[in-house]
């Protein structure tokens, strides 16, 4: 009697149903942030009261202010990761990938900050833009990190990219105070009656403050979720580049083998 054995399925493909870069942590994060987003919408748009002065337009603040804070957080993480990469004892491409992933998410949130800020400004000030220090520095930050991302795409080995970007990431830390201070000094010349600042004249009552903090929490969760996935995708990209190189090299050697 023939005995047939089924080969045991030990090889599982890397891609799951939804993600290749997902783990239990990211699944929980995803559930948390999207549920949180729903709650934020409810709290921000329906449950929280309109502002005494600004009316309903203050609701944009619940998206605008948290995204600004998360953008700053993202850039701080990029700077710290850049330093960690450059420091010989902690040098590892993981830091480089975290720096890159964080910068990408940071640029996204900075873009959201600028756009929501412009929409809010249109309602409250009547204009889309003002050359006040905070807006100007924000725009500067956006362009600087967009440039950082462009430099990451310049090519070369992973180590070259990492070193170049890390130095650039740390240069941004030097530039930002210089730019901010120059702009503050510059705008102080113009003696505007009041540098109108949408969330300057908002009196935050209890529930509004709560909604604001909810926004910060939800956006932080989004940040963590996005950076985790993005950083893993960068690993996959690097791995893919390396194996492409390996294949090319072994193909070349195989060619040389045949007389």
């Amino acid at each position: 009697m023939a005995v047939t054995t089924q080969p045991v399925q030990t090889e599982r493909p890397a891609t799951g149903r939804v993600t290749a870069t997902g783990t239990r942590v990211t699944r929980w994060l995803a559930v948390a942030c999207w549920l949180g987003a729903g709650w934020l919408l409810l709290a921000g748009l329906v449950l929280s009261p309109p502002d005494v002065v600004q009316g309903d337009s203050v609701r944009i603040m619940y998206a605008h202010v948290p995204s600004a804070w998360i953008a700053y957080l993202a850039f701080v993480v990029t700077a710290v990761s850049s330093a960690a990469y450059l420091w010989p004892r902690t040098r590892s491409l993981t830091w480089d990938r975290i720096a890159g992933a964080s910068a990408e998410v940071g640029v996204l949130f900075m873009g959201i900050t600028l756009v929501t800020g412009m929409l809010w400004g249109r309602i409250t000030w009547g204009v889309f833009w003002q050359w006040d220090p905070r807006l100007t520095t924000t725009a500067f930050l956006f362009v600087t990190f967009a440039g950082y991302l462009a430099v990451r795409g310049l090519g070369g080995s992973h180590e070259q990219r990492a070193r170049r970007s890390a130095i650039l990431g740390l240069l941004a830390v030097v530039e930002i105070p210089l730019v901010h201070f120059s702009v503050v000094l510059w705008r102080s010349l113009h003696q505007e009656a009041s540098v109108l600042n949408p969330n300057g004249d908002v009196q935050l009552d209890g529930f509004m403050l709560f909604t604001l903090f909810t926004g910060v929490l939800v956006f932080t969760l989004f940040y963590l979720w996005l950076v985790l996935h993005r950083q893993r995708v960068l690993w996959l990209q690097d791995h893919h580049d390396d194996s492409g190189l390996d294949e090319a090299l072994s193909a070349r050697r195989a060619e040389e083998g045949t007389p």
Binding site: T144, G147, A150, V151, L154, I167, L178, F181
Partner: protein, 225 residues
């Protein structure tokens, strides 16, 4: 380090003297920019009022070309790599290139100020000269330092020509603001008082020192392979 810097600066300036790329190409471009501003802005009183700002804008645009030129001479024959491999102190290379660049920028500033006097009816007053010279020196030092640093960062990389202005423009924004305001004070544009210019010189000096130091330290790791 300073010996290397002197040698590198002398080399860069000698290359420029022999090839005349800056004098034949960048200077005409800068003057052309001044002329184009006049076409674009039309009103003469406006031009006179914004002359300081326009001068420094023209300097900034020219800086992009000067930096690219400064590094093109290195990468064309792999000269930068040769210097690095030969163990030449990279900090010295940085300082040398920055000094040469500063000399070129300074000559450009002088020329453009003359251009502003001629084309925009800007008036240079005697008691503003000290402020003007101090501001121009610190501004060009800062521009040279940051330009050399970013030039080194993008040197030899594909697509760097368009990337350099994108990286450099936001970084030199403080210099643009400060130099223009200091020049306005020195020239007395729109009644700006002389004393108002000195805080801006402080900004320019801080910028120059900050990027001078950072560049000296970071240039080595940057050009490493």
């Amino acid at each position: 380090m300073w010996r290397v810097a002197r040698l590198v600066a002398a080399k860069d300036l000698r290359i420029e003297w022999r090839s005349r790329v800056v004098t034949n190409q960048v200077v005409p471009f800068a003057v052309l920019v001044l002329v184009m501003f006049a076409f674009a802005l039309d009103v003469e009183s406006v031009l006179q009022r914004v002359a300081p700002g326009l001068v420094w804008l023209a300097v900034m645009f020219s800086q992009f070309f000067l930096v690219q030129r400064a590094f093109a001479v290195e990468t064309s024959d792999g000269a930068l790599d040769a210097l690095r491999v030969a163990g030449v102190d990279p900090a010295g290379v940085f300082l040398g290139k920055a000094l040469a660049l500063m000399a070129q920028l300074a000559s450009l500033v002088i020329l453009l100020l003359v251009g502003a006097v001629l084309l925009y009816r800007a008036e240079i007053r005697a008691d503003g000269l000290v402020l003007l010279v101090t501001a121009a020196c610190s501004a060009t030092a800062g521009l040279a330092a940051v330009g050399t640093l970013y030039g080194g960062l993008t040197a030899g990389a594909k697509g760097r020509e368009t990337l350099l202005p994108l990286l450099l423009a936001p970084v030199v924004a403080p210099v643009l603001i400060a130099a223009a305001r200091a020049t306005e004070a020195a020239l007395g544009t729109a009644g700006t008082a002389l004393g108002d210019g000195w805080p801006w010189v402080g900004v320019l000096a801080t910028f120059a020192v900050a990027f001078g130091v950072v560049g000296t330290v970071a240039f080595g790791p940057l050009i490493e392979e």
